[in-house]
Subunit: 291 residues, 2 copies
Amino acid sequence: MNIHQLGEFGLIDRIRQRLRVDSHVIRGIGDDTAVLPYTRGKYLLFTTDMLGEDIHFTRRMPAKAVGHKALACSISDIAAMGGLPSIALVSIGLPKHLPVCYVDELYQGMHRLAKQFGVSIVGGDTIKSDKLIINVALLGEVEKKYLVTRDKAKAGDWIFVTGPLGGSFLSGRHLTFTPAVAQARFLVRNFKPHAMIDISDGLAGDLNHILKASRAGVRLWEGQIPKNPGCTLQQVLSNGEDFELLFTLAALKAKKLLQWQQKTRQWFFYPIGQITANRKQLVRAKAFTHF
Amino acid sequence: MNIHQLGEFGLIDRIRQRLRVDSHVIRGIGDDTAVLPYTRGKYLLFTTDMLGEDIHFTRRMPAKAVGHKALACSISDIAAMGGLPSIALVSIGLPKHLPVCYVDELYQGMHRLAKQFGVSIVGGDTIKSDKLIINVALLGEVEKKYLVTRDKAKAGDWIFVTGPLGGSFLSGRHLTFTPAVAQARFLVRNFKPHAMIDISDGLAGDLNHILKASRAGVRLWEGQIPKNPGCTLQQVLSNGEDFELLFTLAALKAKKLLQWQQKTRQWFFYPIGQITANRKQLVRAKAFTHF
């Protein structure tokens, strides 16, 4: 059997089964980031994302945007845990005939985003490669009381997303999105989400990750799901790389959040369904896969 | 200008110039690992290494050894700071026709080494790639009093290495080496090295890194440099990926170390020269480059 036949999620399951983590690791594989002991009041968050040419971007796309995306994906993972990003290392595989100005622009895109989010890029590694490869390893931190994982969604919770979904590749939004750190921090400070994830594999795939981890089911209000212009429900469910956050709130908190939005006339959060106790109610849609 | 014309070290300099790090980062790019605030008595160490097929290994080499090497390189970086490795994330780019058993064996090699050094591999990322690419991001920790950097070598220091050098690629030792964590911990606990680095670019290249950072020169005792069987001095100076440690000790400590070795009849450390005040005395040899 080869990698193609096994598929992305089969492969991840296979790798996961073999991991044995020390008891002092709070949370290992199976969430947006690893969660590690840190200070008395905080956890350390640790995540990594690898982006490959012709998979996550092409050489025709602006180098600044590619650099932006490489870092933004990892910042989005930190946001999904309720945390703030802090320190990054960037490994990069470079074709030998790549113009140096391309690399300059790539780093410009990364640095601009890093500055915006208070991230220090403190080093990394460079190797020669046939195709451009970028790996970001990112640390972050979160107050223990604010940590949000995937596995605490409860029957009756309302499900929200932070923005319209679908068509991220076609529109180019996967290259320019702003990681939803501000929204996540607002939520953990004021509304105590039960579960949160960033939507990288498509709404269906990532919602199912929450349902599986939380041993719960779902009722989606399909008409309520915010869609990007021209996107069908199917695209919204299965297109990847939206990088919006998906989270669940206890019903009472959900109503308070909607009231707050009505009062302030700011619409950052869209209710799209409810968590149920029926574990069989998964979202039936082909999940986006990078393989 | 393209990457090939700029060269590996030109590229690293260019990237380094553009980095701006927060004041709370103890040490950023320019050492074996980044050094970050952690607990009252310890620093957090953070490093990353990317390995590419046909650069650092080939598909004909045993998968277990490739996995071993991928993690061992990063553990060696932690050792060079005097620290202990703790938590790793592994990103991997996989060709779609790669047999799944290859990936299994790759992880077996990594896990065996991880267990040996108390490292937890807590997650990572997988993508599709034309050639096999492995990126390890590794955290470690070091007691503040034991941290060793590259820039504190002093005129009069003796220079040591932890083992014979040269021919690592030809002999296959670059795939099987044991990172010198035990030696490094013995040294920081008992002999307070002034400067330390792991030899990945060849003795000349890495010794010059210490000299540049410490603004010092060198006198090498060429006849004393331990060589692997069949290696010339030139190969010892410029072959890459030895992964032995290179360190400097105050003359008094150096003599104590030699006495200790004589008394215990254990020869772990080889004196190869002395640090001088004359900054112009660099090691003249073509440094190994991965580009």
